[in-house]
Structures are given as C-alpha cells and as structure tokens.
C-alpha cells in the first residue's frame, strides 16, 4: 500500500484528492496548495480539513465574535481572556477560576448517552488544560416537545450520559436547564459547563516552547472514534478495502478521565509541565498544530509512536481520531522520568511521540517517511475567515407584529394556571436533577433548587490557604425570545444569568457563552447570529462583565428549518464570604416580601 509521503506528493502533483468529501471548498484546497507550494499529502489534507472546519476555525463566526474583544469592558479580574482553552478570572485571595460552556449537540442526537457523556468529558479536559482542578459541572439542555416520540429516546439517554460521566468524575452538578420546544426535535441542544479552580500563579497554557523539549501523549489509546470523514480519505487515497466501517460515535471512559484529572493535578504540583493541551474534536491534529504554533514554532512527531487501540489505523485516521480522554504535554527532557512516574502511579499510559524544534515546521513521519511538513500556524490560526452575507428573515416583522394583544383573553384563569403548572417547561426537573450528584467534594453551598450554583473555594485543593470566598454560577437562555429579537434575546439571557448570580450575594465577574444556531450559510440564520453576538457584546459592556470564552454550534437544523436561535449564557461571580450566601425561597413566616425593580 502506497504511503502518501511528502516525496510522493511532490512526484504526483495532480493526483485527485477527496477534499470536497472532507468538507473543504475549492478555494480552501487551493490555499493549502499555495501554502505548501505543492499538493498536500493525505495526512496534511486531514490536518487542514479538520483545523479549517467550522468547528475548529470559527470561520463563519470569527468576524462577529471579535466584538467580545473590541467592546470588552475594563476588568481587573480577567487573567486570561478569549482564545485559550478557557478564560481565567481572579476571584481573590490568590485564587483564580476558569470556566467554559460547550455544545455536544449533534453527537447527542446520534447517540444520546455517549454524545452527552463525551460532551462533559470534553469540557472538563478544557478546564484541566488550564492548570485547574475541575470542581463542578452544569448542563443546559433543550429537547423537542415532551410528548414527541423522539424526545423519549433522546432525553433519558442524554441525562443518563451526563449523570454517568459527571458522577463518575466526582464533579458535583450544581445547576442547569431543561427546556422543551418542538423546534429542537431533530436538533437537541446539550451544552455542558465546567468550572475549575487554581492558584493564580499556576495557570498553564497551550504552548510548546523550548527546542529539545519532549512531546508526550497521555491518557487513552487512540482508536477509530469519530473518524467517519477520515475513512473517506484513507480509502480514497489507498483504495484499501480493509477500511472497515469507522464509527462516527465516540465512546467515553469516565474512569480514565478521572485518572487523568488526578494525574494532571499531580503533574502540575510537581511542576513538570511546560505546556499542555487537551485533545478535543481534531485530536492529534489540533494539539500538535496549536502547541507548535504557540511555542517555538516547530515540532517533530513520529506518528508510529502513538499508542493505538486499533492497530489497523492509518496515519490520516490517527490525525483525525476523536478518541476521548487524551492530553498532550510538553515536558523538558530532564523532567520526563518524573512525569512518567506520576502517570504510572495513576495507571495512565504516556508516550513520548516527538520533540519541539525551532524549524518553524510541524514535521511528522510514518514508517520513516515524512508525511507532514507544514508551517503549524497556517493550520491552527490562519484558517479561512468568511464574511457571510446576512439579512433579516423575511417573516421577522410579521412575527413581531403578531403580539400577545391578539391572543384571546382566557375565560377561566384557574384552567390557565393549571395548564401552566402542568406544562413540561414549568414542571419539576427533579427527574433530571436527582440523577446528578450535587454533594461530592463537599463544597457545594447551593445547587438545585437554587437558580445559581455556589461552591466554597477554601477546600477545593487541600493544603491551599484558607479563604472565606466562594464562586457562583448560572446558565440561562431563551430561544423563543431570541427568535423574536436575537439582539435583546441574547441580552435577556445574559441578564437572567447575571441576576441569578447576583441574588445569591455574589458579584458577577465574567461571562461564557454557547451560541446554538442553524446554518451560517443561510443569511437569515447569519442575521440572527450577528444580532445575538452584537446584543451580548453590548450588554456585557454595559454590565461590566467580559466574555472569557465560549463555543459556537452551527448547523442545528433539519433540512432548511433551523432551531430557534439559542444563545446560552453562563455567568460566574464571586462572593466574599460563602457563609453569607442568600438562598431562594421564603425561610420563615412573618418576613416582609419586597418587589425590586420596575
């Protein structure tokens, strides 16, 4: 079987490549050829296609998301802003918090349990990669109508997946949402938030400086998870009928992730990590290009050294594999023995697969031949950027003109009230929340039924200094408002989360967001998106809270019907003294009830 090496690519410049099947446009492919001065090898094509995908490159959203930076309010609390794995804020007394929300919508529709579980796993690794101990999770869920048959398939699986994975990691679930609306029937939204704590001076970044430093892949072995696309490539390039059907579904191993958490924290404690990155959607491709691009600029990797679960994997597939529970670290040669000893203690497989160089190139070999030789920044940071056209949806004005005044007045208020109380969106969410451990780690000050979760900081990391402080978090979103007016819909979501944090007694500090929309190629959806981002950025400036990170999920649509635009907003706040938190609910009889605001 011919290996598509750089040499071979030079010798066969006109060989047809399946870039379109990998979701690349003609001009994107041409740009890769220009960057490389030749056609890419199959492995290089694998890297560029995943790195330049909407999911990894934010090519449709970037021009809008910039407002979170340009309109950002002054914030003394911000330690690490957007662009890293997760933002970090100063919460006082030497402590910092890092938090982020991310979607795993489509996988949760295909396989609800595993899709939701690996969604939790992914966001937890983002938090770990900042140098933090993950301390809690939240989940914001949207399903089709409660009485629609597919909801019966999706909802229990999603809840069980989050429950199993999060509980097994020992992370308390301190809040979230469950919303039913027929618009989500083919496109459930599963947004998971994780928050972590760390000492202010222990922030880790995804960077690979220092030529000669080793690149270590650790955690689970690499298998054929989520590489449906890559098999197109492998079989198209090699006409290899041994390419069995590759699964699009990733399966999580929460036990391995728990070991990874403890292992990483011990590695940080021992100070043997120069740079670190989690392996997310684009796996080894993403970790190597991003680490190299942010470091000294070069890296050499021997792909044969990647430990495999399935020995038949081709290099292209290894590069695209989405196998879960993996991390990549940059470690000085002197620290390698200590690093390996800690991994060994936690039963976490770890392998040196390469080295940092100052060549400015990311070079990968397979069976001794060079199969990748690219400037890493071109894949990691210089992806295409689109100014997608957008315009207000045709029916928007009519939709807004159709106000509540046109609805018939209810004749029977009692009936109306009962209908409301019996509706799934107002009903008890206990069926969901009772499947989540809210007590583990012993620092949960508020969780359900409170509208914001709160955690005590002081004991998050044994041995660290005492503080009376705590952090509070809430997530909120309302697709129906956003559908009517995405600009103020996003602002309403932010202000609801902001209020939910504030009423606990905490001061809101920072914002994360998960923007769930239809196809960016539809100008009407793009309008909703641009309006929502503009609204959120403006409101963040007004309220004085910066956006520290988030996630965009496009293509949540069935055919040409998109979901309601659904920005889900998370707000993090800090309280000086957790003992003074305010609970919701009336604690005793005889107290006055006051209404604040208009």
């Amino acid at each position: 079987m011919a290996l598509d090496s750089v040499k071979r690519a030079q010798e066969t410049p006109e060989e047809r490549q399946p870039y379109a099947e990998l979701g690349m446009k003609d001009d994107e492919y041409q740009r890769v050829r220009e960057i490389l001065g030749r056609r890419p090898t199959g492995s290089e094509l694998a890297i560029y296609s995943v790195m330049w995908s909407e999911h990894c490159s934010y090519k449709s959203s970037k021009v809008h998301l910039r407002q979170f930076g340009t309109k950002a309010p002054e914030s003394e609390a911000l330690l690490v802003g957007m662009g890293e794995n997760a933002g970090v804020v100063d919460v006082g007394d030497g402590w910092a918090a890092t938090f982020k929300i991310e979607s795993h919508n489509h996988p949760s529709y295909v396989e609800p349990h595993q899709g939701a579980a690996t969604g939790v796993g992914g966001i937890v690794r983002d938090i770990m990669s900042m140098g933090a101990r993950p301390v809690a999770v939240m989940d914001s869920l949207r399903f089709g109508g409660a009485d629609q048959p597919d909801t019966r398939r999706v909802l229990p699986g999603v809840v069980e997946g989050i429950s199993h994975y999060g509980n097994c990691l020992g992370l308390p679930n301190i809040g979230g949402e469950v919303v039913f609306d027929p618009c989500y029937i083919g496109n459930p939204l599963v947004n998971a938030l994780c928050v972590g704590l760390l000492r202010k001076d222990q922030i880790k970044l995804a960077t690979a400086p220092g030529p000669g430093n080793k690149v270590v892949l650790f955690g689970a072995r690499t298998g054929a998870d989520g590489i449906g696309g890559a098999s197109v490539l492998a079989s198209a390039t090699f006409e290899d009928e041994s390419q069995a059907k590759r699964p699009a579904v990733q399966v999580g191993d929460p036990f391995m992730e728990k070991l990874l958490i403890e292992c990483c924290l011990e590695l940080y404690q021992a100070d043997v990590v120069v740079g670190i990155q989690d392996l997310g959607a684009a796996g080894v491709s993403c970790a190597t290009t991003e680490l190299a691009a942010k470091g000294t600029g070069g890296m050499r990797v021997d792909l044969n050294l990647v430990p495999l679960r399935d020995p038949s994997l081709r290099p292209e597939e290894i590069l695209m594999s989405e196998s879960q529970e993996r991390m990549m670290a940059v470690v000085t040669p002197d620290d390698i023995p200590a690093f390996m000893a800690i991994c060994d203690k936690w039963d976490v497989p770890a392998t040196v697969i390469g080295e940092v160089t100052d060549s400015g190139r990311l070079v990968m070999t397979w069976d001794g031949e060079v199969i990748v030789d690219i400037p890493p920044g071109t894949a990691a940071d210089e992806g295409p950027v689109y100014e997608r056209p957008f315009h207000e949806p045709a029916g928007q004005a009519a939709l807004n003109a159709d106000g509540p005044e046109r609805l018939p007045r209810p004749a029977d208020l009692r009936e109306t009230l009962l209908t409301l109380l019996g509706s799934p969106n107002l009903g008890s969410k206990e069926w969901v929340t009772s499947q989540y451990d809210r007590y583990v780690r012993g620092n949960t000050v508020l969780a359900q039924p409170a509208d914001a979760g709160m955690l005590r900081i002081s004991e998050a990391m044994p041995g660290a200094e005492e503080t009376t402080r705590g952090i509070a978090l809430a997530t909120d979103g309302n697709g129906r408002y956003a559908r009517l007016d995405p600009y103020s819909g996003a602002q309403l979501a932010l202000s609801e989360a902001y209020r939910n944090v504030a009423v606990t007694g905490a001061k809101p500090l920072a914002v994360t967001n998960c923007l769930n929309f239809g196809s960016p190629e539809d100008p009407e959806v793009m309008w909703q998106f641009s309006e929502a981002v503009r609204g959120l950025a403006d409101a963040c400036r007004t309220l004085g809270v910066p956006v520290t990170g988030g996630n965009v999920s496009f293509y949540n649509q069935t055919g040409s019907t998109a979901i309601n635009p659904t920005p889900v907003i998370g707000v993090l706040g800090v309280i000086d003294d957790v003992a003074r938190r305010v609970r919701s609910g009336f604690p005793e009889a005889g107290l006055r009830v006051l209404l604040l605001g208009e």
Partner: protein, 227 residues
Amino acid sequence: MSAARVGVVTFPGTLDDQDAARAVRLAGAEAVPLWHADHDLKGVDAVFLPGGFSYGDYLRCGAISRFSPLMTELIPAAQAGLPVLGTCNGFQILCEAHLLPGALTRNEGLHYICRDQRIRVESTRTAWTADFADGQEIVLPIKHGEGRYVADAATLAALEGEGRVVFRYAGGNPNGSLNDIAGIANEAGNVVGLMPHPEHAVEDLTGAPSVDGRGFFTSILKRLVNA
C-alpha cells in the same frame, strides 16, 4: 494523648475521600490517607472506605478494588477487630471482599438517585453507631445507582436475628433494598457498611440539610479514646 488516627482509603476512582477526611478532621481525629497500591495500613486505629466509582464501577461495583494490595492488609485486620466503615462504594467493596454478607445490585428504578433520605438507626451496638439512639431517625444523602441490598433468605434471617441490620430506609425505600436495608454490620460490630453518606452531612454550609453524619465520627472517636 495523641489524636485517634482514622485511615481514609483512596482507590483509583474514589471520589469521597476528601469529604471523608474532612469529616474525620472536624470530629477531632487525624485523617491518614491510605493508598490502594500500598501494603500498608500505617498503624491507623480505624479505616474509612469512602464512596466513588473505584475502577469506574466496571464489571461490578467494588469487584476490582477488593483485590488491591491495601485490601489484602485490611481484610485480616478487619477480621481481627479493626473498626472499618464503608459508605456507598466502600460498602460495595466490603461485600465483594466478604467482610460483610450479601451484595448490592442495580437500583430497582434503574436510575442513579441523589437525594436526602430519612434513615432509621436500628442498632447502636456497633463501633460506628454508639452515639445514636436506637430507633433514631436521621437524614443523610444517598447517591448511588447500585444500592439495592440482596442476600439469601438464611443470611437475611441471620442479620435480622442477630441485630446486624444497622440502618433501614424510612419514608420510602429508594432502591428496592430487601427489608429496606440501608446498612449492616459484621458479627463483631466493628465492620459497618451503608449506602448513605455520613461524610456529606457534617457541616451546616455544605452537603445535606442535616449534620446527622457527625454521629458516626463521634461514635468511633469515643470508642478509640476509651479503648
């Protein structure tokens, strides 16, 4: 005299070790971390096997952990009278290790349940329950997917007859446990296992809306100090 030393075991996948150690400290004892891979009980006066998902709960809860080096030390020590408390996954490990009879199986409702649960203390004649009153009702959190206690008829009869059912669920059986059993003891009363979590009910600020879990720790401390 020096403080009583209570070992808190960590297996890969243990989750409640930090809470257990905190509860031990709050009660005034020293919490001694014990590591599953060590053949070393560090001379502790008692041992707490906390909850979690040791080895991911793969195969069966507690099935893999019970073969750890630490357990090879703990099993004979417990048989010789060392006080041992296992909560949740710790209880499951004690059953798998045959330090306690019976087994814990999938909840009847097939879901993981986290809730505050009323529990009746049925026996104060164990190392860990002397500070409670017989028949006292307490509130502790439960959080498990496999907590339905089962045993054959003869074992059940023996447990009941010998007063070794230490805790029973009150106000509704959450998991289908036989005879509403929430916790049991060995014959000598030094080894106790239960599904609820006393270590999550020792503080006003966090955990369950009760501090009833403190009784476990005051019980064992008095016992160790008076020993």
